[in-house]
Assembly symmetry: C2
Homo-oligomer: 313 residues x 2
């Protein structure tokens, strides 16, 4: 019983107002699996080039991430992303993208991967995501991420893919664009009508919201005085979310709610340093402390207003 992620493994070069890093381990599958590894056993399906070395393997190994299905193209190069953030850290400016071996990525699943209980289809071309989805017919929960590029260029295929997953995890601009509807609540209802039982919307510094057929749950973000590098925050959130779910026997609404908190906790650590640096050295005590903080930040007593009592005073 394990969690499978299909996505990208990359080398990222990132500049922010606070510094820069060249050739850090990045990509959706990396951020996701390192985050999820704190909660469950994770298997990665991705592709890398011959330049993917011992140092990177050690990071996965240190988090007990199974890389059996990490395909290596010895004479190819690993996906590279070059990005910059200005003071508005909400907006990533892509300076350059070298798809390299990722351009020809065809996810190949071993039997163990096909038997995964939970599956996260990271942000790759929707046809590829659907191909993987068909190979994990017995998965208890399949989640999907996507991006504006696929909404704009492969909308039909993307919608077919959304129809066959259980959970969609996107940011709020993507949810509105996907549904072609500016009101998020209406957008959510439309997306759920296509098939998924659950929609989780990431809202950056404003937190996250979960929509189900007849349920709604919303949380603020963990309050941070400084955000250093937001790269991978969404995948780190998804990793905490899915990793926690994978540790739970029952995938009910109560578990999903706690999973969103763990996802937010993991994302809050991710943005505090470059790349996966902060998350790599996290402890369970630190994770649980922020989980408990979240309870403290959001709790209020359920005491309705009683006019009769007031009038009598």
């Amino acid at each position: 019983m394990s969690l499978l992620v299909v996505g990208s493994v990359a080398f990222d070069s990132v500049e922010t107002p606070f510094g820069k890093r060249d050739r850090m381990l990045g990509g959706s599958a990396s951020h996701f699996s390192i985050s999820a590894g704190f909660f469950t056993d994770v298997r990665v399906v991705a592709v890398v080039g011959g330049d993917f070395g011992e140092e990177e393997r050690k990071v996965f190994a240190a988090h007990q991430i199974d890389t059996t299905d990490l395909e290596v193209v010895p004479d190819g190069k690993t996906f590279r992303w070059f990005g910059r953030y200005d003071y508005d850290l909400n907006v990533a400016h892509t300076l350059d993208t070298h798809l390299n071996v990722f351009a020809g990525f065809q996810p190949k699943l071993s039997q163990a991967s096909k038997d995964a209980r939970l599956v996260f289809l990271g942000n790759i071309q929707p046809d590829l995501q659907r191909g993987v989805r068909e190979q994990v017919a017995n998965a208890e929960l399949v989640a999907l991420d996507t991006m504006n590029l696929w909404i704009e260029t492969t909308r039909e295929s993307l919608q077919k893919t959304i129809e066959v997953v259980d959970l969609l995890v996107v940011n709020d601009a993507e949810a509105r664009q996907l549904a072609d509807e500016p009101n998020l609540i209406k957008a959510a209802r439309k997306i759920l009508s296509w098939g998924p039982k659950t929609l989780i919307v990431k809202r950056g510094e404003y937190g996250a919201a979960m929509f189900t057929r007849d349920g709604y749950f919303a949380i603020p973000a963990y309050p941070l005085e400084s955000v250093f590098d937001p790269t991978g925050a969404g995948d780190t959130f998804a990793g905490g979310l899915m990793g926690y779910l994978s540790s739970q026997e029952k995938l009910d609404e109560a578990a999903l709610r706690r999973a969103m908190i763990f996802g937010s906790v993991m994302a809050s650590f991710n943005v505090e340093e470059f790349g996966t640096e902060r998350v790599q050295r996290l402890t369970h005590e630190e994770i649980n402390q922020r989980f408990t903080d979240f309870k403290q930040f959001t709790h209020f007593e359920n005491i309705p207003f009683d006019r009769a009592v007031r009038a009598a005073q």
Copy 2:
């Protein structure tokens, strides 16, 4: 023991993509007091012209709002605001403003008003706000609203006023502008260092957050499928907040948290129809239903992740 509000009473003419209304009862003191009237006894200090008639007085009377200190300038005209909203209902476009009698507003407080337990200084010129604050020396809690105009034109006076109040209620753009700091958490810390014990930040569709010296509380907005007219939402929020506090014996953090929920509930009703129309005919059952909904939307079980348990399974 009552709640005093000092602010504007106006006639608003509003156009939205969904319709228009001419000469509705508006202004900060109107929205605030009608909302607060559901929870406590409210007194209004404001100024109107001879055109303020029986119909408007009836609205205040219907909510048991004390208008003894509502000054009438018989040969003057009531403040008028003309505004428009496009599909982005977050942005109000002012088409015209006739200050009329509001231009010479000098708040005059009766002894009963000076004895108010709680005071809300609505968005007026900061010197006037401070003048009122000095007259309510025994108030248990004085709250302040302001706007970008005063931050830009009377920053020094505004800061002196902020220094002598207990609670500041602003939106997030105002908080960042006031502190000249893009990070909201840092901005909040800076503002609290000036004197107020509490800062409440309104974030529109993203909810609201409360900062104290060593506390943080954040809530989402009530999820609405359609927003009709956001005029007065901020004052309606403040009315629910302060009105509920006024009904409580202890003004502690727990009461403030519940007060924020009631403020959000009242604001959620306000935006569903033009002006004060929806709030005017609210029932306590409707208010308490949304309060309970808020609990449902934000609750999760406080169960930290237990790696040992997982590993043992």
